[in-house]
Amino acid sequence: STLEPSLYTVKAVFILDNDGNRLLSKYYDKELYPSMKEQKNFEKNVFNKTHKADTDEIAFVEGMTIVYKCSIDLFFYVVGSSQENELMLMAVLNCLFESLGQILRKNVERRCLLDNMDGVFLVVDEIIDGGVILESDPQQVIQKVNYRVRHLQSRTVSTVWMNTDSDMSTILEDTDDYRKL
C-alpha cells in the first residue's frame, strides 16, 4: 500500500464563503467527483464538518485529507488523498493564503476577494497546475502574477478605491461609507 511516487499531490482546491457557497473550485483528479453535483455535495459536506471548528486546520472527510483555513467570512480548502503527506498539503494551503493576503493587502474577506477574482484565479493557477504543486513560495507567486489590486475596503469605516476607473468612483458617492469620508 505504498504511495505511488507522483507529482500529482493536490486532488482539489476550493474557496467557500461563510454560507458554504462556492466562490472558486478546482478539481484536478477527474475520477474524484466527476459531476458538478457530486463536487458541490462534497463541498457542502466538507463545509458542514469544518465551519464550526474554525480553529482547526485539518479534517478527514469522505476518505480524503482536507487542510483548511478560515479568514473572516472565507474558507480555504486543499484536498489530498488519505495517504498524502499532510505537510505538503499545508504548504500549498499556506502559499495560497499568504499570496492572497499580499494581493488583497491583508483584506482576506469575501467582498474584496470577489472584487479581485481575476487575481485570485491567477494566483491559484500559479500555485497548482493540474494537481502538481507548481510553486510554494508566496513571494514567487506574487511576482509571477504581478497583479495590481482593485477596490480595497479598509478595515475601518471608510472604503478606499485604489483604481482609477472613474465610473466606479461615481457609484461610491452614493454610499454611506463614502459620505462619512
Binding site: L24, E62, E86, D118, F121
Partner: protein, 888 residues
C-alpha cells in the same frame, strides 16, 4: 446594466456578491466588445473574469456559444495589458474542451512562449500544452526542449510539468526529452529540481535499473527541495518493496537519514515510509516512532494529526513500539481538534492496559457526537479490536455501542456498530441476550434495509436458541406490519425459524404466517406460503433442509444449470446435485486501518476462480462429459523456485474423475519446448486416461498441459494417492534474441516432485448455519464413530487446525475457535463429498497429559465410503488409508 447591480449590492452590505445575478446570455452578449477598437482592457478583463467565474460555478456552455466567445477572445492578444493576457491563457485552458478549433491560438501562444516577456512565457507554455495533441506536439518539440533547460525557473518548471501531463498522451515524444530533464534536475531552483525529478521518474519507472541509478545519483548529490526529497523517499521505498531488498540496503539507510532532515515535511515522509514498510522490526521502527512522538507536541495541528494518525497505524501491528508515546498521546486526548483526539484515544486503546479502558471510553463518549462519521467508525473498530483482546470488557463495550446506535449517524457508521455487536455476541455467549435486545431496539427505528434484514437474519438464527425466544416475536412481527418488502420478507423467514425450533411457539407462528400470506408483495406471500406448508408437516428433516439451512449451491451456477436444463428438454427431473456448490465465504477479514476511503461502488459478485476454470476446462474436447466441476484446489508447486522449468499443479475434482492442470513456465531463453506433458505414475488404482499436452512453450510465456485421471470406483476407500510426475517434452534450441528455433529438436525429460491427492480434494466446504438441525436431518443410519489418539498434537487449537485442513471441511457454529483454558472441545464440520453426498463431522476433543484424545463421529446422508480419520501427525499421506473402513 451591470454597474447598477454593483451599486445595489454595495447598498445591501458587505455580504453581497457582484457575480451573484450573472446571466450567461448577458455575459456572452457583453463579450462582443472584445471586437471593438481600441480594446478596453479593464472592461474586457471584467468580462473574461465573469466567463471563468460562470464556468467555475458549473454553468453549461454550448459548443456554438463557447466557440464564438473563444474566437472573440483571441482578438484580445492584440492588447499588451499583462493581466488581460494572463486571463486569456486561463480562458483558453478552461475552454479547451468546450470550444471547437482551439488550436487557432497555437501561433499566438508559441510567440509568447518564445518571446521576450518572461511573465508570459511559463503560462503560455502551460496553455499551449493544454490544447496540443500528439501530432502538433512534434511541431513544438524544439521549443519544449529549449524551455525545459531555460534559465528562467518559471519557464523550465512550466515546461517540465506540462511534459508530465502529456506523458500519458504522447509517451514516445516526451521520452525523447529525458536529457533535457536530466539537465534541469541539476538546477539551483528547488521547484525546477522537483519537477524534473518527477518527470524523470515518470519516464523511467518501468525500468528498475534506471530508477535505481537515478536514486543513487540524487541521494548522493543531495537535493535542496524538500518536495523533491519526499519524492525520492517514495521512489526509494517503492523500489525497496519491489526488490524485496533487506533493510541493510543503502536505500533504507537513505530513508532513515531523512529522519534527520531539517524540513519537517521530509522527516514526516521518511517516518511514514518506514512505518509502512512490511516486516519492519521494532528496533527499525524505533527512530521513526521517536520523531513522530516529537511531532505529537507540535503547535501545528496538521503535524500533530499526521503524527498520531501514523502512530495509530504502527499500533495495529506493533502496539509495544508505541507504548513509549503513551504520555504524549494522553496529552492529545483533550486536543481541540477532535480528529486528533479520536486518533489519540483509539491508539491508546490499542497500546494501553486493560485498566485504562474504562477511563478512555468515558473520555471518548464525552465528544463522540462532535466527530465526523469517518472517525466514529474508527472508534467502533477500536472497540471491536478491544473486545477481542479483553473479552471481559464486553459489557462496558456493549453499553457504549448501544448508546452509539441510538445517536445519529450514516449507514457506514451504523453498519460498523451492528457488525461489532454481532461479533461480540458470537464471541461471548453470555452477552447474546443483551446484544440481541439492543439490536431489536435498533430495528424498531432503522432506515437502512440492509441492516434491518441482516439483524432479522441473526434473530432468526440465534433467537430460537435463547431461554425465552417468545420475546423476539413481537419485534419481528412489527417489521412485517411496518416495513418495506425486503424487510418484511426477511421477517417472515426469521419467524419461520422460531416456529421450526420451538414447538410451543409453533401455533402462534402459524397464525402470524397466515396473516403474512395476505401481504401485498409477491415475495413475502410466497415465503409465507412456503414456510406455512413446511411447518405444518412438523418434520425435523424438512425443517432442517428448507428452513434452517438453505441452499448450498452457487447461485450463478444454479442459474446456468437451469438455463441449460431448459435448453435440452428431458424427462428426467432437474438434479440439484449437478449444480456446483457455492464457495463458502472466507471468514471476513477485519479491516486493518481505520480511516479508509469508503468505496462508492457496490460490490459486484464476479465469477469465482472455480467458475473461470470451469469455463476453461469445458473448452477442451477431452474433458467433455465429466459433469460439473466439483472442486478446484490451490496451486501446488512441483519445482523449486528458480529452476529451469517452473511447474505448478492445480487439481480439479469431478464426480468420478480428476483433471490435473500443470501450469508450466520455461525460463531458458535459448530453448523452445514443444509437446509438453506431465507423465504421471499413480501409487493406487487411479487410471490415467488422457494427456493433453501443451503444443508450444516458448521462453517466459506460461502454458498449461493437462492429465485426465479416472478415480477408482471399485475401491472407494482410495481417496488418497501419490503420483510420481515427470515433465516430458521436445527441446528445440533457439536464438535468445530473436526466439527463432532450430529445425531439429530432441526429446528430453525433467523429474518433478511427487503430487499428492488427499481427502480434502474430494470434499467441498459447506456452511450449515444450524448444525444440530442438519445433523438431525440426516438421521443416524450412516453414523460412524471412532476414537483416535493424536500423538504429536500439543494443544486443542492445533488439533482443530489439523483436522480442518486434513478433511477440508467447513467449521460450523464457530466451533473452530477453542475457548481459552478448556480441556475439551467439540468441533462441528460440514461438507459435501464429490457426487453430492453430505458429510458431517462431530468431533469431541479432549486434552489429557499432553496427549489429545478424540472421539470422532461421521455422518453421511447416503451410503458412501469414507475413510476414517488418520492419526493427525505429520505422517506421509500414504499411511492415511490404512485405517479406512467401509460403510454402508
Amino acid at each position: 446594466m451591470i454597474k447598477k447591480f454593483d451599486k445595489k449590492d454595495e447598498e445591501s452590505g458587505s455580504g453581497s456578491n457582484p457575480f451573484q445575478h450573472l446571466e450567461k446570455s448577458a455575459v456572452l452578449q457583453e463579450a462582443r466588445i472584445f471586437n471593438e477598437t481600441p480594446i478596453n482592457p479593464r472592461r474586457c478583463l471584467h468580462i473574461l473574469t465573469k466567463i471563468i467565474y460562470l464556468l467555475n460555478q458549473g454553468e453549461h456552455f454550448g459548443t456554438m456559444e463557447a466557440t464564438e466567445a473563444f474566437f472573440a477572445m483571441t482578438r484580445l492578444f492584440q492588447s499588451n495589458d499583462q493581466t488581460l493576457r494572463r486571463m486569456c491563457y486561463l480562458t483558453i485552458k478552461e475552454m479547451a474542451n468546450i470550444s471547437e478549433d482551439v488550436i487557432i491560438v497555437t501561433s499566438s501562444l508559441t510567440k509568447d512562449m518564445t518571446g521576450k516577456e518572461d511573465v508570459y512565457r511559463g503560462p503560455a507554455i502551460r496553455a499551449l500544452c493544454r490544447i496540443t495533441d500528439t501530432t502538433m506536439l512534434q511541431a513544438i518539440e524544439r521549443y519544449m526542449k529549449q524551455a525545459i533547460v531555460d534559465k528562467v525557473p518559471s519557464v523550465s518548471s512550466s515546461a517540465l510539468v506540462s511534459s508530465l501531463h502529456m506523458v500519458k498522451m504522447s509517451y514516445d515524444v516526451v521520452k525523447r526529452w529525458v536529457n533535457e530533464a536530466q539537465e534541469a534536475a541539476s538546477s539551483d531552483n528547488i521547484m525546477v529540481q522537483y519537477h524534473a525529478l518527477g518527470l524523470l521518474y515518470h519516464l523511467r519507472k518501468n525500468d528498475r535499473l534506471a530508477v535505481s541509478k537515478m536514486l543513487n545519483k540524487f541521494t548522493k548529490s543531495g537535493l535542496k527541495s524538500p518536495f523533491a526529497y519526499c519524492m525520492l523517499i517514495r521512489i526509494a521505498s517503492k523500489l525497496l518493496e519491489e526488490t524485496e531488498a533487506g533493510h541493510d540496503s543503502p536505500l533504507f539507510d537513505f530513508i532513515e537519514s531523512c529522519l534527520r532532515n531539517k524540513h519537517e515535511m521530509v522527516v514526516y515522509e521518511a517516518a511514514s515510509a518506514i512505518v509502512h514498510m512490511p516486516n519492519c522490526t521494532a528496533r527499525e521502527l524505533a527512530p521513526a516512532v521517536s520523531v513522530l512522538q516529537l511531532f505529537c507536541s507540535s503547535p501545528k495541528a496538521a503535524l500533530r494529526y499526521a503524527a498520531v494518525r501514523t502512530l495509530n497505524k504502527v499500533a495495529m501491528k506493533h502496539p509495544s513500539a508505541v507504548t513509549a508515546c503513551n504520555l504524549d498521546l494522553e496529552n492529545l486526548i483533550t486536543d481541540s481538534n477532535r480528529s486528533i483526539a479520536t486518533l489519540a484515544i483509539t491508539t491508546l486503546l490499542k497500546t494501553g492496559s486493560e485498566s485504562s479502558v474504562d477511563r478512555l471510553m468515558k473520555q471518548i463518549s464525552s465528544f463522540v457526537s462532535e466527530i465526523s462519521d469517518e472517525f466514529k467508525v474508527v472508534v467502533v473498530q477500536a472497540i471491536s479490536a478491544l473486545c477481542q483482546k479483553y473479552p471481559r470488557k464486553h459489557s462496558v463495550m456493549m453499553n457504549f455501542l448501544s448508546n452509539m446506535l441510538r445517536d445519529d449517524g450514516g449507514f457506514e457508521y451504523k453498519r460498523a456498530i451492528v457488525d461489532c455487536i454481532i461479533s461480540i455476541i458470537e464471541e461471548n455467549p453470555e452477552s447474546k441476550e443483551t446484544g440481541l435486545a439492543h439490536l431489536c431496539e435498533f430495528i424498531e427505528d432503522c432506515e437502512h434495509t440492509v441492516l434491518a434484514t441482516k439483524i432479522l437474519h441473526l434473530l432468526g438464527k440465534e433467537g430460537p436458541r435463547t431461554p425465552s425466544p417468545s420475546k423476539y416475536i413481537r419485534f419481528i412481527f412489527n417489521r412485517v406490519v411496518l416495513e418495506s418488502e425486503a424487510v418484511r420478507a426477511a421477517a417472515v423467514s426469521a419467524l419461520a425459524k422460531f416456529g421450526a425450533q420451538n414447538d410451543d411457539l409453533l401455533p402462534s407462528v402459524l397464525v402470524l404466517m397466515q396473516r403474512c400470506m395476505m401481504d401485498s408483495d409477491d415475495e413475502v406471500r410466497d415465503r409465507a406460503t412456503f414456510y406455512m406448508n413446511v411447518l405444518q408437516q412438523k418434520q425435523k428433516a424438512l425443517n432442517a433442509a428448507y428452513i434452517f439451512n438453505g441452499l448450498s449451491v452457487s447461485v450463478p451456477g444454479l442459474e446456468k444449470s437451469l438455463h441449460q436444463y431448459t435448453l435440452e428438454p428431458t424427462e428426467k427431473p432437474f438434479d440439484m446435485k449437478s449444480v456446483p456448490l457455492a464457495n463458502t465465504p472466507i471468514t471476513e477479514q477485519k479491516t486493518e486501518f481505520a480511516p479508509v476511503a469508503t468505496s462508492k461502488l457496490p460490490e459486484k459478485p464476479g465469477p469465482t476462480r472455480q467458475d473461470i476454470y470451469q469455463e476453461q476446462l469445458a473448452a477442451i474436447p477431452e474433458f467433455q462429459g465429466l459433469g460439473s466441476l466439483f472442486k478446484t484446489s490451490e496451486a501446488v508447486q512441483l519445482t523449486e523456485a528458480e529452476t529451469e522449468y517452473v511447474v505448478r499443479c492445480v487439481k480439479h475434482t469431478f464426480a468420478r474423475h480428476m483433471v490435473f492442470q500443470f501450469d508450466c513456465t520455461n525460463t531458458l531463453n535459448d530453448q523452445l519446448l514443444q509437446k509438453v506433458m506431465v507423465q504421471m505414475e499413480p501409487s493406487e488404482a487411479y487410471e490415467v486416461l488422457h494427456y493433453v499436452p501443451a503444443a508450444n512453450l516458448p521462453y517466459s510465456q506460461p502454458g498449461s498441459c493437462y492429465s485426465l485421471v479416472r478415480l477408482p470406483e471399485d475401491d472407494p476407500t482410495a481417496v488418497s494417492c501419490t503420483f510420481s510426475c515427470t515433465l516430458k517434452y521436445l527441446v528445440k534450441d533457439c536464438d535468445p534474441n530473436t526466439g527463432e528455433p532450430d529445425d531439429d529438436g530432441y526429446d528430453d525429460e525433467y523429474v518433478l516432485e511427487d503430487l499428492e491427492v488427499t481427502v480434502a480434494d474430494h470434499i467441498q466446504k459447506v456452511l450449515k448455519p444450524n448444525f444440530a438441525a442438519a445433523w438431525d436431518e440426516v438421521g443416524d443410519d450412516f453414523e460412524k464413530e471412532e476414537t483416535f489418539a493424536l500423538a504429536s498434537v500439543r494443544t486443542l487449537d492445533e488439533a482443530v487446525g489439523n483436522i480442518i485442513s486434513f478433511l477440508g471441511m467447513q467449521p460450523c457454529e464457530r466451533s473452530d475457535k477453542v475457548p481459552e483454558n478448556k480441556n475439551s472441545h467439540i468441533l462441528f464440520l460440514a461438507g459435501v463429498f464429490r457426487g453430492g453426498h453430505d458429510v458431517l463431522v462431530r468431533s469431541r476433543l479432549a486434552l489429557a497429559d499432553g496427549v489429545t484424545m478424540q472421539k470422532y463421529s461421521l455422518l453421511k446422508s447416503e451410503s458412501l465410503v469414507f475413510p476414517s480419520l488418520p492419526k493427525l501427525s505429520y505422517i506421509p499421506v500414504m499411511e492415511i488409508n490404512t485405517g479406512a473402513s467401509l460403510l454402508c
